[in-house]
Each structure stands twice: as C-alpha cells, then as structure tokens.
C-alpha cells in the first residue's frame, strides 16, 4: 500500500527561497568567521601536530629489554608461528650458540627480524609471547627508502623497543616463590 507523505505547504515567503538563502549565507559566514578569526579548525596539520595515542594502541611491534638491560626474548618462536602475515623470522642460536643475557633463561635469538612491510600490527605476537618480550608500541609511521631497510633486525628492534617497565612477570614469580618458601611452617 503506498504511503502518502504529506509535504509541508510552503507559504509565499518560503516559496521565494530568500529566507533559506539568507539562512545559508549566515551559516557559512559564521563558519568562515569561526575558522578565520577564532581558529576553530577541525584540520590537524599532521607532521607538526600528532595524535596523543591512547594506552593499548597497537603500533609497530618491538622487542623489549628487562630492567637489567637484558634481552627478554628466549627464541621460543611462538610469535613466528602465530604471525598471520609471516612477518617475523627468528634464527635460533643453535646448540653451541650464544647464551642468554639473563641467567634465568636458556637462550636468546641469534637473529630476530620483523618485516615491517608485511606486519599488520595485529598484536598476536604480543599476546602469545610467554616472556613478555615483544610489545606493540606507539610507532605507526614507519618509512624507509628500500624494502631491505624495512626489515628490522634484532639490534634495531631492541634499541627501538627500550625497556617496558611495570610488567615484570619474572619478578612477580620470584616474589611468589619467595613467599612460598618463607611460608610460616607451623610446628
């Protein structure tokens, strides 16, 4: 069944279009005035002004060091397996390779490469990492002059990643263990 939409019957004054025209001119003039003289601009001039990124923003994944400046990654290769675009490539140290920096880990990667051209910033590597060694940080504008330049190696990833304090799983575990050891044994 057709629905009849009753149009508003316009008065003569409205049919002249003139009030609408004047209204439109007023609106546009007000906006132009606000932009020009009051500086109410919605444009963010990008390279000079940047967003304040929220916590939990998923930017580029970098490797992090622990509080003693040691490599956290233990070369378990879980991130390499989980990575959907296969951007991560880890070269394990092998049997006679270099030992881990820190004492409570067996090994660390000989080489750790992330191809930033492949990476989709999904955050699976961060989620899967048992050592909390890789974090998606707040870099989103990665540029380079060649493809090979965009493959970030271990050294670069570690220097870019820095140290993410606050999340110290092993310290927590240590405290837990100590708490258990000093459990007041009642006679």
């Amino acid at each position: 069944m057709p629905v009849v939409v009753n149009r508003k019957v316009l008065t003569f004054w409205e049919k002249l279009y003139l009030p609408a025209i004047v209204g439109g001119l007023k609106v546009t003039l007000k906006h132009a005035y606000n932009t020009l003289f009051l500086g109410k601009v919605v444009t963010m001039e990008y390279p000079e002004q940047k967003w304040t990124l929220p916590t939990g923003y998923r930017g580029a994944p970098y490797l992090v060091k622990d509080q003693d400046n040691n490599t956290k990654c233990v070369s378990c290769q879980l991130c390499e397996f989980v990575c959907p675009p296969k951007a991560i490539r880890i070269t394990p140290p092998g049997q006679n390779g270099q030992k881990a920096d820190r004492t409570n880990a067996e090994k660390m990667p000989a080489e750790f490469e992330i191809n930033m051209l492949r990476c989709i910033f999904c955050g699976f590597c961060q989620e899967v990492c048992p050592e909390e060694a890789i974090f998606l940080q707040k870099d989103y504008s990665l540029t380079g002059l060649s493809r090979s330049e965009m493959i970030y190696n271990k050294e670069k990833l570690l220097s870019l990643g820095g140290e993410v304090g606050g999340i110290q799983k092993w310290k927590l575990k240590l405290e837990e263990a100590k708490a258990q050891e000093s459990f007041p044994v009642k006679p």
Partner: protein, 352 residues
C-alpha cells in the same frame, strides 16, 4: 587605422588577458581557501619555494597558499596529455579551445577603467557592447556540448545535453533582465551605461529585480552551483569533462573561471557603476594617472567582491534538480523579467 591605436590596443589586450588569467589562477586558490574556511578546514598552506621561510612574511604567504596556483599550473602543464581511446579526435581537441575562447573574448568590451592619458581603458569601445557580450556568451555552450559529444561516453553526453538546455534557457532570462537597464539608460554602449550611473546613481537601485535575475542567470551561465548540472560530480562523474585530463581539462577550468570574471565584470558594469565611486571624486573620467589607476582598482575591487559571492554561494547551496532548474528558468524568471520590462517601460513613460 593608425599605428598608435594598434600598439595601445595590443598593450591593453596583453595586460587585460594577463590580469584576467592572474585573477583566474588566484580565484581557484580563493575557491579552495574559502571552501576550506566555510567547512572549518585550513586549505592549501604548504606549497612554497624552499627559500620562503627565510623571507619576513614568507611563512604567512605560504600559509595563505600564495604559491599553490603556480604549482597547480605547473602540474597541469607537465602532466601527460592523455587521449582516451574511442573519442572523436577532432572535436575532442577542439572543444577546450572553443570553450575557452568565448570566455576570454567577453572581457574585450568591458570598460575596466576611465582613461589613462588619452587612452580609454577598454579594449573595444563598441556601441553594441551588451549585444556583443550576449552573442559571445551564447557561444560558450558550444564548447561544453562539443566536449560532451566528443568524449563518446554517456556521462559527458548527459552533461553536454544538460548544459545546452540550461544555458539556452537562462540566456533568455538573462537577456530579458538587461532590457530594463537599456530602457533606463537608452544606450547599448557599456561606457555610456557607466557614465549614466555616475550622474544618476547605481542602476541596482533602479532595477533591483533585473539585477537579481541577471545574477542568478549568470550563475547558471557559468555552470556554478546551484546550477552546476553539466558538471554534477556526484551524479555524472565529472560531467562534460569526464574524459579530459591535464591541460585540456585545465582549459575548461580556465573557461569556467574566466566566465566568472566576465560575469562579475558585467554585473559591476551594468548594475554597480563600473569603475565609478560616488565619493572621493571618483565619479568622472580621470584627469591624472593616479586617478586612472584608482578607477581600475575600484573596478577590480568591485569585481572581486562578486567573484567572492560566486565562490561563497557555491559552498552554500545544494544543486537544483533538472526539472526545478527548467521550472525556475522558464516559469519564474522569464515571466518575471517580462513583467519587469513592462513595469519599467510604464514607469519611464509616466515620468517623461
């Protein structure tokens, strides 16, 4: 035909064409800037030669986008001149030229100043100035129709057909709207019309309805919003210039803005006293060089005001529907213009 006339005419042509092209280039910038301001944006503000930041005021000029037209022009010039397969070659190449030439020719009869020395500041002081303008303006439609036809594709064709209907319809109301002015002044020479306004006051006070119809019709003639049906980006891709690129497209752009310049100049000449101002003794032909230059500046300032109105209106109105456009042209403006003629004639008859 003496040599002095030829030399001065050539100089005037060169200067006028140069100035009009400059105004066209910077009105594109003004279009972008004003649209940006109206829409709470910033507009082009980066383009600058690298040394500009060391010059005082250079940063401000860069923020204003002063160098953007140069970059745009350079881009159009060095872009690949691509000819799509299947276009009708001859017409495809001819159409931009045909649309840009009438646009440039219109300014020939417009008196843009009084006198400098013993030279009248008008390229061709025709006795039938207004008729010449209407004749030339009506040629502008050929370029657009030809462009739509030559592109050999459906959307440009739609644009071309729309523009032919639109421009022919509005030319009639435009011509009719000017007749009261001619009745009042009794002369077709644009210089004489300005002279009449200098003594009697601006014609917009005598023929306000004429002015409104003329203004709206010139919006339609220049294919500007709210009458930009031939272009209609949202429905016809790009309208008649969909298939055009690089300099050929730039020529259409140039034609549109030149048409804006000449329409503004016509409005100023017919209704707003041309180069005269009713005060500061600027209402009679110049006696000194400075006054002659002042007249030219007054004319350009008035013209720029109307250019800004053109641009302002573009960012305010939605586009008319095709039937609304035809309705407005034939059933509103044409009878109104005819009644206006009648009223003016009766008024003049009663006064005489």
């Amino acid at each position: 035909m003496d040599w002095k006339f030829i030399i001065f005419s050539l100089i005037k042509i060169a200067v006028v064409v140069g100035v009009v092209q400059g105004i066209v280039a910077y009105s594109v910038l003004a279009e972008r800037k004003i649209s940006a301001w109206i829409q709470d944006r910033v507009g082009p503000n980066r383009t600058a030669p690298p040394f500009m930041k060391f010059i005082p005021g250079g940063v401000f000029l860069t923020r204003l986008g002063i160098f953007q037209p140069l970059a745009d022009g350079l881009k159009f010039l060095v872009k690949e001149d691509f000819t799509p397969a299947g276009v009708k070659k001859i017409y495809f190449f001819l159409a931009p030229a045909i649309s840009v030439i009438p646009a440039m020719l219109t300014v020939a009869v417009i008196p843009f100043g009084s006198v400098i020395g013993d030279q009248k500041m008008v390229i061709a002081d025709l006795n039938v100035g207004i008729l010449y303008t209407f004749g030339i303006v009506s040629m502008g439609v050929y370029g657009i129709v030809l462009a739509g036809y030559a592109a050999n594709s459906k959307y440009p064709m739609f644009g071309g057909i729309r523009s032919s209907a639109q421009m022919i319809s509005y030319e009639i109301s435009m011509g009719m709207s000017v007749i009261p002015v001619l009745l009042i002044v009794g002369n077709l020479n644009l210089g004489a019309i300005i002279g009449w306004q200098a003594t009697h006051g601006w014609l917009v006070a005598y023929a306000p309805i004429s002015f409104v119809i003329f203004m709206i019709a010139s919006f339609a003639e220049t294919n500007r919003t709210p009458f930009d049906l031939p272009e209609a980006e949202t429905e016809l891709v790009g309208g008649y210039h969909t298939e055009y690129g690089s300099m050929k497209f730039a020529l259409f752009f140039l034609a549109e803005y030149s048409n804006m310049v000449s329409s503004s100049a016509m409005m100023v000449t017919l209704f707003f006293g041309g180069w005269t101002l009713p005060f500061w003794g600027l209402d009679h032909a110049a006696t000194s060089l400075g006054m002659g230059l002042a007249h030219i500046l007054v004319f350009i300032a008035k013209m720029l005001f109307f250019m800004i109105v053109f641009i302002w209106v573009r960012w305010m109105f939605p586009r008319f529907r095709y039937d609304q456009l035809m309705d407005l042209g034939w059933r509103r403006f044409l009878p109104l213009a005819l009644v206006n003629i009648l009223i003016t004639a009766v008024w003049l008859w009663l006064r005489s």
